[in-house]
């Protein structure tokens, strides 16, 4: 379930963003605390300079850091959008109290529902159409991508890609009542051969 053990490009991009932010945060924290502690032992006392403390450290410094971080964040976010691609597979994830039902979607055709297991091909982009039948849930497979809420009356789209075949744990991330804790599922990413077999079997 770890967000830091990515199994696909989306989760990897976010994990990179996290490590980058962590490094920056540690540096800023250390610097600020050093200033704070040095203030207790500083020898030269006198009126503090507004230019230095307020305009320099208070305004210029955070502005620079934040603007660069924002640009980075926006670019990552843009890359994770479900942009048009030739070989996208569409699946539907239906949240309900308290299980997830999944179906393959091809145009207007929908496959049979599998409960608690979502089958996807590995190495191909997958768009999950996230819906809900009752209350709000949230579809989350931390090793593959961020989460997307399942909201009644609405369809949200989440782009996933599993680089390698395997089993990835998923969970409902939005509190949905008494069965929320147990509202878990798996994503199984298949290699091309087993995906073809599966596709034949279901349609």
């Amino acid at each position: 379930m770890s967000t830091l053990a990515p199994g696909g490009p989306a989760a990897a991009a976010i994990a990179d963003l996290w490590w980058f932010m962590l490094a920056g945060a540690v540096a800023i924290f250390a610097g600020t605390m050093a200033l704070f502690l040095m203030a207790f032992r500083a020898q030269a006392r006198g009126p503090a300079s507004t230019r230095l403390w307020i305009m320099g450290l208070g305004i210029a410094f955070p502005t620079t850091v934040l603007v660069s971080l924002l640009v980075y964040g926006l670019l990552v976010g843009e890359r994770l959008q479900a942009s048009a691609a030739p070989d996208v597979v569409e699946v539907e994830a239906m949240g309900r109290q308290w299980e997830w039902g999944f179906r393959q979607v091809q145009g207007d055709r929908r496959g049979a529902e599998t409960v608690g297991v979502l089958h996807i091909p590995a190495g191909r982009p997958v768009d999950v159409l996230v819906r809900s039948e009752d209350v709000i849930h949230s579809f989350w497979v931390p090793m593959l991508a961020g989460k997307m809420d399942a909201i009644p009356g609405k369809t949200n789209r989440l782009r996933l890609l599993a680089s390698r075949p395997g089993r990835y744990a998923g969970a409902c991330a939005e509190f949905c009542g008494i069965g929320h804790t147990g509202n878990r599922f798996f994503v199984v990413a298949h290699d091309p051969a087993s995906w073809a077999r599966l596709a034949q079997g279901t349609s």
Partner: protein, 828 residues
């Protein structure tokens, strides 16, 4: 008059009186403030015990300590108690206790309102806690997302308890917001310019403004959800034109500013305590004020960062992401101003400073993780995990608890008149600090490892066990720390040695009095020129006690204090404050009866209690005022001033203006909700619109215009009592006609409200207009009676102006309601 005789005379006027009756009837700000603080601390302990239960349950995988049903109640109540029953009331208590003393006044602007607010808070909080004891506590999480909290998925009373209890408590927050603003703006010591006020007053002024604008969206949301639950009006039901996300917008429109409402007063404590501990003056006073204002404005534009995963288009998210990151700048300004202040001084690591150190460490980490969460892609991973729980506690405990502990260490001698015992306090600090960091640092990590929030259990195989165990261990260390803190306070209260007058050698006015403070604060009021008056004049306290300031002579049993110009502090009039009264308690009980009858579903009783509340309000307003003009009277130090009833901008007038601001915000959010559903929700345009016939609507507009004119005529100067009564009579008749027309519309033109969110919203809009016309009618009839009883003269017109103001407001909202409902109907 000697200092002692003056003390006795003033004390007799300001004291609360003996026994139970005195305790129930007191309206004194020191009493009320203390009460808020103690009650909030009790709720903190209850919330803390719930937190310990949470951590006990999560300590080990597959724990069977409590099941999910109980667990959901526990974390919902923990969050709700901490936010609504602890943090906000603690702020109110500190403000009530401190502001008049800091600003050189004798009480807050509306003492009876403070008392009323306290009782509402106590009763609302009691409802919530009793529900916990009976096992029917709210269990939908502290943000109560629909449709989980709608009737279908929460059929029990749990959600109603949250909606009613919290709204009841909110009444007190709104009252406090208005009172704090008017007190800071008007009731400052003579000569205290607004740009020279102590920073703490600035922080509270901005906080109160944010409460005034931030709470109405939640109150509106709660009203709508309660109506949906009670009468099946589908505001949030996607199958009938509603939208569950409307709730989220309303909630977070309140919820994000709420976080700053909690943080700002705490930052105000830091800005007050830190310079004293550092033995220097605050760096960048003007910049800090600018930063607070920027925070207040920005914080209303960020709410969507709680909804990054709801499927809103990425570009829109980018906007809110940028705005969220930008709040770090005004926060940065304050942080570095504080550090610069320490650099400039000779800091001493006394107990308050130690807590400020804790604040720095914890709050900066919370701020940094906050910036991380503002980045949309990272938010998609971390949202709704233990990482967010960790972040929010770093911000709230760092940004509120540690500053409050600093404030407690700093002001306890003021509350108790006794010296602190440093040792115990320091041990408490380290236990809290270490325990806290252990608990919540672990939760960051386990969140990144995929642990969602609000889960009552987890399998061993997840690899989360050690983190959780350590987190729980840390929380018990922290609990010991708080126990030690409570012990420290108790020891100081009961065993501490008497403190001298200004133990920290601080510069602000609250230290210019005996400790513990006398009921009237200052025997005479000082003229103040800047934010640290004691720094320039350390003997001010004795001079004031000798009666060398304003209003030094007790007379007629009046509770007197001074009010001045909002900007310059130039004295304008003497405020005669009302004395002790049981009315606040009675009115709060009636308000409680109203809420309980809704909670119990006994809807027939609700209007009965409403009438009782109105009757209390009538009596409340009737008991103040003068029947003759007093003219300008002596205010001491060669100053003569009128009393507030004879001055143009009396506190009541400004309170009314602010109440309309709050009410107008609620109305604006309602119209926003209507527009939001119309454009976003599915199932629109609605199957059936309101009848397009404009006659009744037109009649109500014309009648209200006439009523507004009549209201204006009644307040004109000069005029005889007879003319005023005729104008008020005509105005009331017009209001009655307008009300009838609106009721006719409601009864005949609006489609059945349970059929579609459109019909439900339109119905609420009309009801809103009708309620306000009724309120304006009540005020005008009241004014008519007051004129008859001789309370109004050419010099004393405040009540007429207030009645006219509410009439104008009712006219405007009715016009808006008619436009937004009838125009689309006529066009289609």
């Amino acid at each position: 008059m000697t200092a002692l005789r003056r003390h006795r005379a003033l004390h007799a006027i300001w004291d609360r009186g003996p026994g139970w009756r005195g305790a129930l009837a007191t309206v004194n700000h020191t009493d009320i403030g203390r009460r808020f603080i103690v009650t909030a601390f009790v709720f903190f302990c209850i919330g803390g015990v719930l937190a310990m239960l949470i951590r006990t349950q999560l300590a080990t995988p597959g724990s069977a300590f409590v099941g999910p049903a109980i667990y959901n109640q526990i974390f919902t109540m923990h969050g709700s108690i901490m936010m609504f029953l602890f943090a906000i009331p603690m702020i109110e208590g500190l403000a009530f206790y401190m502001l008049p003393k800091l600003l050189g006044g004798r009480d807050m602007a509306y003492p009876r309102l403070s008392a009323f607010g306290y009782w509402c808070y106590l009763f609302g909080g009691t409802i919530l806690v009793l529900a916990l004891l009976f096992g029917v506590a709210p269990d939908g999480g502290w943000f109560m997302y629909t449709p989980l909290s709608s009737k279908t998925y929460t059929p029990g009373i749990n959600a109603d308890i949250w909606l009613i209890g919290v709204t009841f408590v909110e009444v007190s927050a709104m009252a406090a917001a208005i009172e704090i603003m008017v007190s800071v703006l008007k009731l400052r010591a003579p000569g205290l310019r607004i740009d020279q006020m102590p920073l703490f007053a600035w922080y509270l002024l901005v906080t109160a403004l944010m409460m005034l604008i931030g709470f109405p969206p939640l109150i509106l949301g709660s009203i709508l959800l309660e109506i949906e639950r009670a009468f099946d009006w589908p505001f949030f039901d996607p199958n009938r034109g509603g939208d569950p996300l409307l709730w989220q917008h309303l909630f977070w429109l309140f919820g994000h500013p709420e976080v700053y409402i909690i943080f700002l007063p705490a930052a105000g404590v830091v800005s007050t305590v830190l310079p004293v501990m550092a033995r220097s003056r605050i760096v960048g006073y003007g910049w800090i004020i600018a930063a607070i204002l920027a925070l207040a404005i920005l914080s209303f534009g960020l709410w969507v960062h709680h909804m990054f995963a709801t499927g809103i288009p990425h570009m829109a998210l980018g906007f809110f992401s940028a705005a969220s990151a930008l709040v770090a700048i005004p926060t940065g300004i304050q942080i570095f101003a504080w550090i610069g202040t320490i650099w400039a001084g000779r800091p001493e690591l006394k107990l308050p400073m130690l807590h400020i150190f804790g604040f720095f460490v914890v709050f900066i980490i919370g701020g940094l993780t906050g910036v991380m969460l503002a980045m949309v892609p990272f938010n998609w991973q971390a949202h709704d995990t233990a990482f967010v729980t960790a972040h929010l506690h770093y911000v709230l405990v760092g940004g509120f608890i540690f500053p409050m502990l600093a404030g407690a260490a700093y002001w306890l001698p003021h509350f108790t008149g006794r010296r602190p015992i440093e040792r115990l306090g320091k041990a408490a600090f380290w236990l809290i600090f270490i325990g806290f960091n252990l608990t919540f640092f672990m939760m960051h990590m386990v969140g990144l490892l995929g642990q969602p929030r609000r889960v009552y259990s987890y399998p061993e195989a997840m690899g989360w066990t050690w983190y959780n165990l350590l987190a729980s261990f840390g929380s018990f260390i922290m609990a010991f720390g708080f126990a030690l803190f409570a012990l420290d306070v108790a020891m100081q209260v009961f065993l501490g040695r008497r403190s001298q007058r200004n133990p920290w050698r601080a510069g602000t006015l609250e230290w210019a009095m005996l400790l513990p403070p006398p009921t009237y604060n200052f025997a005479s009021l000082p003229r103040v020129a800047d934010h640290d008056p004691l720094a320039a004049d350390p003997d001010l306290a004795t001079a004031l006690a000798r009666g060398e300031g304003y209003l030094a002579e007790p007379r007629h049993g009046w509770r007197e204090t001074l009010a001045g110009d909002m900007l310059t502090g130039r004295p304008e009039y003497i405020v005669l404050l009302p004395g002790n009264s049981l009315l606040p308690l009675v009115m709060a009980i009636m308000t409680g009866g109203f809420f309980l009858s809704i909670l119990g579903g006994v809807y027939v009783l609700a209007p009965v209690f409403l009438v009782a509340v109105a009757a209390c309000g009538w009596r409340w307003a009737w008991r103040v005022g003068q029947r003759e003009d007093l003219g300008a009277i002596d205010a001491g130090c060669d100053l003569v001033l009128p009393i507030h009833g004879e001055a143009p901008g009396s506190p009541g007038y400004w309170g009314s203006v602010l109440a309309i601001v709050a009410d107008g915000t609620l109305f604006a959010t309602l119209v926003f909700g209507y527009a939001y559903l119309w454009t976003i929700a599915s199932g629109w345009p609605p199957p059936q619109l309101i009848a397009a016939t404009p006659f009744a609507a037109g009649l109500s507009v014309i009648a209200l215009a006439a009523a507004s004119l009549a209201g204006r005529r009644a307040g004109a100067v000069p005029a005889t009592a007879a003319t005023r009564r005729i104008a008020l009579g005509i105005g009331s008749a017009a209001q009655l006609a307008a009300l009838a027309a609106l009721v006719f519309e409601i009864a005949t033109a609006v489609p059945p409200p349970a059929s579609h969110a459109y019909a439900a919203t339109v119905m609420v809009l009309f009801a809103y207009a009708a309620v306000h016309v009724a309120l304006a009618l009540l005020l005008m009839v009241f004014a008519w009676n007051r004129v008859g009883a001789g309370f109004v003269s050419d010099r004393r017109t405040a009540e007429l102006r207030v009645a006219a103001m509410w009439q104008d407001y009712a006219a405007v909202v009715t016009l808006v309601v008619l436009l937004v409902t009838k125009v689309p109907a006529m066009l289609s």
